[in-house]
């Protein structure tokens, strides 16, 4: 890379943090590894076979999810940077919350070359088991700072089995 290179710090420090990182990922982030599908041809990213496109964006990305519980509500957060609220599809199936989305790539203006492509693009799907019965029809979802946050009030067991939640 001509214009910019990643700075590698001390090798030993690098190995240490790498080992720690993997250990941490193995224990806590297995489920956060999310498959990004590109069934349709991406509108903007050129094909990997293109001469000026030696890199291909990854098919896997880490979308960290969290489920919180408080009196009266369940809160689910998903880190999904670089999206629009309208790119999310949030649905509740019984006690399973399903989050789908599409991360779109953006065309860069003019002639140029990708030097690094580490961020994943495409469609993804994540499912979370909710710790309690919820009133899905009263759920709210918001998207801020690249984090999707869904708040679901806890409720009676006769809650509807399948409700679509609109992302605001």
């Amino acid at each position: 890379m001509k214009a910019m290179a990643e700075l590698k710090q001390g090798l030993s420090e690098g190995w240490r943090s790498l080992a720690e990182g993997w250990e941490h990922i193995r224990e806590h982030a297995g489920a956060a590894m999310t498959r990004f599908r590109r069934d349709r041809r991406p509108r903007t990213l050129p094909a990997a076979s293109d001469e000026n496109f030696p890199l291909s964006s990854p098919h896997w990305g880490v979308l960290a999810g969290e489920v919180f519980e408080a009196s009266g509500k369940v809160v689910v957060r998903l880190e999904a940077p670089g999206m629009d609220a309208k790119d999310f599809d949030v649905q509740v199936y019984g006690n399973i919350l399903v989050l789908r989305g599409e991360k779109r790539s953006v065309q860069e203006a003019g002639d140029g070359t990708w030097r690094m492509l580490e961020r994943a693009y495409g469609t993804f799907e994540r499912a979370f088991r909710l710790p309690a019965e919820v009133r899905a029809e009263e759920a709210t979802a918001s998207y801020r700072r690249g984090v999707l946050r869904i708040e679901l009030p806890k409720a009676k067991p006769d809650a509807p089995r399948h409700v679509k939640v609109t992302v605001q």
Binding site: M4, E66, R77, E79, G82, T113
Partner: protein, 127 residues
């Protein structure tokens, strides 16, 4: 979840806080400069630091959760409090003219090339 597991997880969370996460980036280079995009979900403008020291560009972000302490976490995959990544800027880049923008958890940096480093187009006049 039993106490032992919970304790282990807390320990791991503390470790995670000590070791910052390396954010994934896309870098696009064109004739006028480079555009860098880094995923920093949960980072507010106030928690972001972009700095250049000599040839080293450092991106640092602190996550502000914004959740009240009353919430009990049932399940957490990656609990990172901090992002950090450093790059070496090529000599052809003008580090004094870096423009930064943070939107939807994505930091976008535009670093122009020095005038001298830009390819020059020589107009051809038809005689």
């Amino acid at each position: 979840m039993d106490m032992n597991q919970k304790g282990l997880r807390r320990e791991a969370n503390e470790e995670a806080q000590a070791a910052p996460l390396v954010p994934p980036v896309d870098i696009w280079e064109d004739n006028d400069g480079i555009t860098l995009k880094a995923d920093l979900p949960g980072v507010a403008k106030e928690g972001l630091a972009v700095g250049v020291d000599g040839e080293t560009l450092t991106i640092e972000g602190a996550v502000s959760l914004g959740e009240s302490a009353k919430l009990k976490d049932v399940y957490a995959e990656v609990r990172v409090a901090r992002y950090r990544r450093t790059f070496v800027l090529g000599r052809d880049l003008d580090s004094e003219k870096i423009a930064a923008r943070l939107k939807n958890g994505v930091l976008e940096l535009r670093i122009p090339k020095l005038e001298a480093a830009k390819p020059r187009r020589i107009p051809v006049r038809v005689a």
